[in-house]
C-alpha cells in the first residue's frame, strides 16, 4: 500500500489528532496513578509501624554492685591472691557464677596480667550448678549426699569454649593455676560450691592444654588456699 502511495506521489499518512491526544491523556493518567500508588504504599508502611508497640515495657535491670572475691593467679611465684571487686551480679546463681568467672578471665587478658591467658569472659559458655555428691574425686562413682538441695553442697560444671582451651598457654604451672583460680573463685562467691568439673564445648576433655587434668572432680576444700601460699 505504502509503495503504491509513494508511486502515486501521495503524502505520507499521519497519526490522527484524536489518537495523539488520547495517548498523552493515558500517559498522564499512568503517571498520576503511579504517584498515587507510591503514596498509598508509604502511608500503609507508616500505619504498620504505628501499629507495633515498640515502646519498652520494662526498664533494663541494673543489678546493684556487690562485693566479689576473685582469686588471681600469678605465674611468677605460682600463687593465688585474692582481690575484692565491686561488680553488678545477677541474682541467679548460675548467671552469677558465669559473671564472676567472666570477670576473672577478662582480667587475665589485660596486657600487664600476671597470668596472661587469652579468651576473656567469652571463654565461659555456661556454668551449671547441681546438687553435689560425695565420693572418690577421681575414679569411683559417687553416692548421693545432698539431702537438702536448697542448702546442701553443690557441684559446679564449668563449660569452657574450645577456642579458650586451644588458645591457652601450655604448661603445668599455667594450666594448673587457671583451673585452681576458677575453682577458688567459684567457692569464694558461691560457698555452697564444693566440687567443680570442667567441660570443653560440652564434652569431657582429658587436659586443658596438654597438662592439667580436666577429667577429675576438683574439691574446693583442696583448692582454696590461704592467701599467698602455693596452691
Amino acid at each position: 500500500m505504502a509503495c503504491q502511495r509513494l508511486a502515486r506521489g501521495d503524502p505520507p499518512p499521519v497519526i490522527p489528532r484524536y489518537q495523539t491526544v488520547l495517548f498523552f491523556i493515558l500517559l498522564a493518567a499512568s503517571i498520576v496513578m503511579g504517584v498515587v500508588l507510591w503514596q498509598l504504599r508509604a502511608r500503609a508502611h507508616e500505619r504498620l509501624l504505628a501499629g507495633q508497640d515498640s515502646t519498652p515495657t520494662r526498664a533494663p535491670e541494673v543489678a546493684p554492685p556487690e562485693q566479689a572475691t576473685l582469686y588471681f593467679a600469678n605465674d611468677a611465684d605460682n600463687t593465688l591472691m585474692t582481690q575484692v571487686l565491686s561488680l553488678p551480679l545477677p541474682p541467679s546463681p548460675n548467671a552469677r557464677a558465669r559473671a564472676v568467672l567472666g570477670k576473672l578471665l577478662d582480667l587475665y587478658t589485660l596486657p600487664d596480667a600476671a597470668h596472661p591467658v587469652p579468651g576473656g569472659g567469652a571463654a565461659i559458655s555456661q556454668v551449671f550448678l547441681l546438687p553435689a555428691t560425695v565420693g572418690d574425686s577421681a575414679a569411683t562413682a559417687p553416692a548421693p549426699a545432698a539431702k537438702d538441695s536448697q542448702s546442701g553442697p553443690q557441684l559446679a560444671i564449668v563449660n569452657l569454649t574450645g577456642a579458650f582451651a586451644a588458645g591457652h598457654p601450655s604448661g603445668l604451672e599455667t594450666e594448673t593455676l587457671t583451673v585452681l583460680s576458677i575453682c577458688a573463685t567459684l567457692h569464694a562467691n558461691l560457698p555452697r560450691v564444693t566440687q567443680v568439673r570442667f567441660l570443653v564445648d560440652g564434652q569431657p576433655r582429658a587436659t586443658l592444654a596438654g597438662h592439667a587434668d580436666l577429667t577429675r572432680t576438683y574439691l574446693t576444700a583442696d583448692v582454696v588456699p590461704t592467701e599467698g601460699i602455693h596452691p
Binding site: D136, E173, A209, Y218, P231
Partner: protein, 262 residues
Amino acid sequence: MRSTDRMSNWVRISGPVSNEVPHPWCGLIAPRVGIPAAALIALALSIPAFAQAPPAPRSIVVIDAAHGGDDQGGSLKDQAGADTLEKSITLALGVRLRSLLAARGFAVVTTRESDIPVDAGRRAEIANRANAMACLSLHASQSGSGIHIFTSSLTPAEPAHLIPWKTAQAAWVTRSLALAGVLNSALLHAGMTVTLGRTALPGIDSMACPAVAIEVAPEISAGRPQPGSPSDDGYQVRVAQALAAAILEWRANASRAETPHP
C-alpha cells in the same frame, strides 16, 4: 626385687619378694590381675623365708620425658626466637639426666627414648614395674620462670591392699613431697629460681613411687639480658646436674633411713 609382666588384665609375678612393708603394689595390681594374684602376693609377703632375704638396693630412677609423637606439648621460643616443641626439650633433658645418673651408678628406666607417643597409663605402668626410688616427669613451658616442681594434689592416704589405679600416688604423696623438698634444695643451691606446687597430672597420679613433675621454664636472672630458654643446652646441663645431685642426696637419705641404729 620383684618384677611383673602385665598381659592383658593379668600380671605374671616372678622373683623373690623383699620385706619392704608397707608396699601398695599388691593393691595396685589387684584390680588388674584379679584376686588370685593379690592373694599370692599377700602370701609371699607373709613367708618368713622370703622376709629374711636382704633387700636389694633400690637405686632405680624412672625418667619420664613428657609428651612425644603426636602429643607435641607446648611450643617454646629458643634463644634465636625459633619455635621448639616441648616434646623435644623434655627428651633432650631426659637423655642428659639419664647419662648423669647412669654415671653415678643408678639404673635408669625411661618411658621413651625417641619421638614416640606414650599415654599416661603406659608411663605409670613403666614406672610401677620398675619399683623405682624416684620417678621424675620432665616438662617444659614458656610460662613463668625458673623450675616448677609439682607433686600430686591427691590427698595422702595410708597404703592399702587395694589401691585404685587412678589414685595410686595417694599412698606415696608424703614421700613425693619429701623428694620435692630435696630437689628444691639442690636446684636452689645451683642458683635457680624454684616454685613448688601441687597439680592433677594423670601420669603422676597413677605412679606408685615417689613421683615429681619438673617443669623447666625460662631462666630469668638479673645478670642476663635475655631469659634463658629451656631449649638452651647450657641451661639444660645445669638443670640436669642439679637434679642428679638431688637424686644422689635422695639415695643417701634413703640409705641413712634404712641403716639400723646401734
